[in-house]
Every structure is written in structure tokens, then in C-alpha cells.
């Protein structure tokens, strides 16, 4: 987002999008809910990617949030949507708190592989745990809100849409503030050169861990949304192709703009549902071609379509520098 955009304007924007949902047809509501939920987890990946690390295992926290919410909902009858999101975020966050510091010292491909390995360990455990329904998973009841239960499916859809847009919107605003803060800039410095950051007296590991924790919290909350939207959970939440899709959204968006994450996520959902409709057996093919096209023609993501100020020059010079240093292992 541009520097001139004040947080109040952003809050107004979120409110406007939420209210606009009233005018949208029902099929777009559930689409937008999934898109907002995916945008939330992809936002986490973008936050983490600013330190130069890409997680290929966000499915771990996504599934942790989803399963945590589903188990608590079924055991204690917790159906409140807001409480479920908080529980999901907590589950993801707690796991992120444990995992983050352990893997913060890895970088590049090893970071990606380790996160992927951890999510696949979780997947393997979930598939084989008969208590959790094994590979079939299990169902959860319809969510409520502040004691109101929604019997009209349209109202229920709108409720989910509103909550997911508001939560994701506020996460986006928080991320924008974070990116502009001292901590956000230090994260960028870690990507450029973590040893120099250490020389300056900051702990690169701690910066990565905190960003990882934020990504995990976002992923956990996103898992809660996915659960509420599908009212069903299975180990597929933790499978590597699920995580791959989230990285896909993050790459599509690029790391220049928070708004781009939402646009990218919505674009992906639209492409998916239209190719589901018209090319039911080849939507992965469409997705793959789409991804290749974006990487080829928009190397800095969808965000580069509308962010063309001095930032562009700055980023292209740093990109040039990294390519020069790129020969170093």
C-alpha cells in the first residue's frame, strides 16, 4: 500500500468491502470467504518471505488451527465463529512458537524443505490416527455468532464472509503497519544479509522467529475459516500441495503490496472456480499455465501492476545486487 494511505482509510475500505457483501450474489460470497481465508495465510507467507525464507509447510499450521478448532468445537460445543477464529490462531501460534526458533537458523532451500518435512510428518500422523477419522477426517457443526444461530444459508454465508473479510482486512492493516515499522525494515535487512544484521546488534534468528510466529498465527486463523466454510476437516489440510497453493498466492501477489495478496487470492479462486466449471478435468493445467505466465510476465507479482513509484527502482537495484551475489552458495 502506498505510504499516503492512512490506517483510517484502510479501515473504511475494509468496512466498505464487508458491507458490499450484502449486494453480492450468494455464490460469490462463499468464493470470497475462501479467498479471504487464503489471503490471510498467504499474507503470513509474505510476512515471512520478507526475511528471505519461504515456508512450504504452512499447511502444518493451517491444519493445526483447523483440527484444534474442530476438536474443541465437537468436545465442548464451541460454535461461536469469533471464538473459533481465536482458538485457531492460538493453536497455530502455539505451534509456531515451538517450531519457529528451531528452524530459524536455516535458510533458503533448507528452510523450505524443513517446513515441508514438518508438515508432512503432521500429515502422516493425521492420516494414521483413527481417533481423528484418519484420511476421511470428520464433520463439524454450523458456526454461530454471539449466541445467534443462522438457519438461513444466505445469512450464514454472509456472516462467514463478513468475519473473514474483517479479520483478514485487519491482519492486512496490521501487516502494513508492521512493514513500515523498524522491525519490518530489520526483517528486510535479514533477507539482504543476516550476518550484517547480527553485526549491528540485532538477532536475525529472533527476527525470523517472530515473523514465523506471525505467519503461524495467520495460518491457524485461516485454518479456522476453512473449517467453518467446509464444516469438514481432513488431513489434506496439511498435505504439501495445499501449502504449495498458499505459496502460489504469495508469489502471485509479490511482496510489494498487502492489497495485492487479496487481489491474487481472489484471482486464483476465480480462475479455479471458472476452470472447474468449464474445464473440470484440467484446472490444475490452467493453474500451472497461469502461474508460469505470472512468473514470466509479472516477475514482481500482481502488486507491480499498480505500484510503480520510486520503490520500483529501489527494488530493481537491490534485485540486481542479489543476482550479482547470487553466485555465492
Amino acid at each position: 500500500m502506498r505510504k499516503s494511505l492512512h490506517p483510517v482509510v484502510m479501515i473504511a475500505l475494509v468496512a466498505a468491502v464487508t458491507l458490499a457483501g450484502r449486494a453480492l450474489p450468494t455464490w460469490t460470497l462463499s468464493l470470497a470467504t475462501i479467498a479471504a481465508s487464503n489471503a490471510l495465510i498467504a499474507l503470513g507467507i509474505v510476512v515471512l518471505a520478507r526475511t528471505g525464507n519461504v515456508s512450504f509447510g504452512q499447511g502444518l499450521f493451517f491444519a493445526a488451527g483447523g483440527y484444534g478448532v474442530a476438536l474443541i468445537a465437537n468436545a465442548w460445543g464451541l460454535t461461536d465463529a469469533v471464538a473459533q477464529v481465536i482458538v485457531g490462531a492460538l493453536c497455530g501460534g502455539l505451534l509456531g512458537l515451538v517450531v519457529g526458533p528451531l528452524i530459524a537458523r536455516y535458510s533458503g532451500i533448507f528452510f523450505g524443505m524443513l517446513t515441508l518435512a514438518l508438515s508432512m510428518v503432521f500429515y502422516g500422523a493425521l492420516v494414521k490416527s483413527t481417533a481423528l477419522g484418519g484420511s476421511d477426517g470428520f464433520n463439524v457443526g454450523r458456526p454461530s455468532l454471539f449466541g445467534m444461530s443462522f438457519t438461513d444459508p444466505r445469512e450464514a454465508d454472509y456472516m462467514l464472509y463478513a468475519i473473514s473479510v474483517i479479520v483478514t482486512g485487519f491482519a492486512g492493516i496490521a501487516a502494513t503497519i508492521l512493514f513500515r515499522s523498524e522491525f519490518g525494515l530489520a526483517s528486510l535487512a535479514v533477507r539482504e544479509n543476516n550476518l550484517r544484521v547480527e553485526y549491528l546488534g540485532l538477532s536475525a534468528n529472533r527476527i525470523i522467529s517472530i515473523n514465523f510466529l506471525i505467519a503461524a498465527i495467520f495460518a491457524g486463523a485461516s485454518g479456522a475459516f476453512a473449517l467453518m466454510a467446509q464444516r469438514h476437516i481432513d488431513p489434506q489440510f496439511a498435505y504439501w500441495t495445499t501449502s504449495g497453493e498458499f505459496v502460489f498466492v504469495a508469489v502471485l501477489a509479490g511482496n510489494q503490496s498487502v492489497a495485492a495478496v487479496f487481489v491474487a487470492s481472489m484471482a486464483l479462486e476465480l480462475v479455479r472456480s471458472f476452470s472447474n466449471l468449464y474445464l473440470p478435468n484440467t484446472w490444475q493445467l490452467v493453474l500451472g499455465v497461469f502461474l508460469l505466465g505470472v512468473i514470466l510476465f509479472l516477475p514482481r507479482g500482481i502488486g507491480s501492476l499498480w505500484i510503480r513509484d520510486r520503490r520500483k527502482r529501489r527494488i530493481s537495484t537491490t534485485a540486481h545486487l542479489t543476482v550479482e551475489r547470487g553466485a555465492a552458495p
Binding site: G124, L285, L296, G326
Partner: protein
């Protein structure tokens, strides 16, 4: 005693074809510095092509040994052609980008190939069991094994030795090693790095497809094959060290044994075990078991 022997033999049978897949993956990573997610798709492609070849040969009433040869030949030809085409036509455009971006390019290729195989061969399971009876049944220390399974072990040993010999004892191999070691220096010494890239990628695809062909008679081919295999071969090359042939062998044996052991001892822990080993290796030796630590430039 027999029990352990069973685990070890089963593990080695698993390790034999996993080794061939991992060899291709590690070679491509060593030369092109790309962790190729589409590698699993080449495996699946090999398996499917082999099934088609075997069925076509069987339909003409020829013996299964002809089918075996036909499937290997067709797979080797088609896979290396596809590998060459992909590298020259697509990957070439993305060199110099971030390694994560290249990873995503191969992810896109994986998605595309996944649907292409579905379009060509459909979503129902396909079988090609004729060559499986080719070597009869063998008795080994009181255990009965399908000969085909046991034959896989020497085949993969031969493939591994051929790769090792080719890399370390021939001029072409030395050139490839030079590119792995230092690309810039090789360019300045007159090596046509682009050509090495193309050959290495095609050869990696060939190895994956060869492993797919060799396992085709043992399994049923259906969608999802490629994502299962890539996840196993990732674990192997990460355990062994990316870009290392010895590492791929050790990693394949470890993963094969882990799979066999968990199948016999606690079937619920299979994937879990493999990834636990991978995570443990990464924790203590992030560069893998067989890779020397390299000094980093600041």
C-alpha cells in the same frame, strides 16, 4: 532372524527404485541448482508410458520379455525428449531468478503434467503386470520372493555404478562435475554450460522415468502417484545431501529400510517415520549426511 531378513530385503527392494529416482533429482539439483518438483511427474510419466508399451506388446501376443525391453526403450526415449524440451523451451527462460522462483516454476510444470497424464491415461487405475512374472519366484533363506523384485536390486546397483563411473572416470563426467563445482569458472574455461544444463536435466528426467518404468509392473498407476514419489525422493536427497550420488544411495537405503520396518512393525507410522528421519538429519546436519560444509561469502 527371518523377520529382520524380511525387513532388510523389503527395504533394499524399496531402496533400489527410490535410489534411481533420487539420483535424477540430485543430479538436476547439482548441475542446475533447481529442486525439481516436477521430478515426481517424470516418474509417473515413465510408469504410464511403460504400462502403455507393455499392453501394446502383450496385445500383439509377444512374450513379456519383449514387453520388458520395449517399455524400457520407449520410456528412455520419450522421457529424455520431454526433459530436453522442457529445459530448452521453458526452464531456460527463468535462469538467474531466485531459487524459490525456480522451485515454483517446476511446481507449475508439476501441475500441468499432472493434468496431462490424466487427460491421456484417464483417472482409473492402470496395470501392467505381464513383466512381473518374468523372473519367476525365488526362494531366499526360507523366504519366497518375486524374482522381479529381487532383480531390481542389481539393476539399480548397475545404474548407480554407471552414473558414478560416468561422472568420475569420463571426460563428459568431469565437465559436468566442473559445472557442479563452479559454473562461472567452467564458462571461462570454454565449457558450454547451457548444453550441460540441457543434458543433465534430460538425464534426470530419464532416470525418474526409468524408475517409474521399472516399478510399473509392481503397482497400479493412478493420479497422485507423482506427488507421493516426489515427497519420498525429496526426503532421500535431503537426508543424503543435495547433489551427492553417495548421499542419494545412503538416503534411499535409509528411507527404504524405514518404510519396510514401519510396514512390518507399526504400519501407521510410515510417512511419519521417513519425515522424522529427514527432520532429524536436517536438525543436526542441515547440509545432509554427505555434503561438505561450504564457506559462505559475506
Amino acid at each position: 532372524m527371518n523377520f529382520f531378513l524380511t525387513i532388510i530385503l523389503d527395504g533394499l527392494i524399496q531402496a533400489s527404485w527410490l535410489f534411481i529416482v533420487a539420483l535424477g533429482l540430485t543430479l538436476v539439483f547439482g548441475v542446475l541448482k533447481i529442486l525439481n518438483i516436477a521430478h515426481g511427474s517424470f516418474y509417473a510419466l515413465g510408469a504410464y508410458i511403460a504400462a502403455t508399451a507393455v499392453t501394446m506388446v502383450a496385445a500383439r501376443g509377444l512374450p513379456p520379455s519383449v514387453g520388458f525391453v520395449a517399455m524400457l526403450l520407449s520410456v528412455v526415449l520419450i522421457a529424455s525428449a520431454i526433459g530436453l524440451l522442457l529445459e530448452r523451451g521453458l526452464l531456460k527462460m527463468f535462469y538467474g531468478r531466485d531459487e524459490v522462483v525456480l522451485l515454483l516454476v517446476t511446481y507449475a510444470v508439476f501441475l500441468i503434467l499432472e493434468d496431462v497424464t490424466k487427460l491421456i491415461w484417464g483417472v482409473n487405475p492402470i496395470y501392467a503386470t505381464q513383466p512381473y512374472e518374468l523372473f519367476g519366484n525365488l526362494e531366499f533363506a526360507g523366504l519366497y520372493y518375486v524374482g522381479y523384485d529381487l532383480v531390481l536390486i542389481p539393476i539399480s546397483a548397475v545404474v548407480g555404478f554407471a552414473i558414478w563411473f560416468g561422472l568420475n572416470r569420463t571426460v563428459i563426467g568431469k565437465i559436468v562435475l566442473a559445472v557442479i563445482h563452479n559454473e562461472e569458472m567452467s564458462v571461462s574455461m570454454g565449457v558450454r554450460v547451457n548444453r550441460v544444463y540441457a543434458i543433465a536435466f534430460a538425464f534426470g528426467a530419464l532416470l525418474a522415468a526409468l524408475a517409474g518404468a521399472l516399478t510399473a509392473p509392481k503397482i497400479s498407476m493412478q493420479p497422485g502417484l507423482s506427488s507421493d514419489v516426489i515427497i519420498l525422493s525429496f526426503a532421500i536427497v535431503v537426508i543424503g545431501g543435495l547433489g551427492s550420488v553417495e548421499g542419494a544411495a545412503i538416503g534411499a537405503i535409509l528411507v527404504g529400510l524405514a518404510r519396510a520396518a514401519s510396514v512390518h512393525l507399526m504400519p501407521q507410522a510410515e510417512l511419519f517415520m521417513i519425515y522424522l528421519i529427514m527432520a532429524a538429519v536436517l536438525m543436526f546436519r542441515p547440509e545432509g549426511l554427505f555434503k561438505r560444509e561450504t564457506a559462505r561469502r559475506i
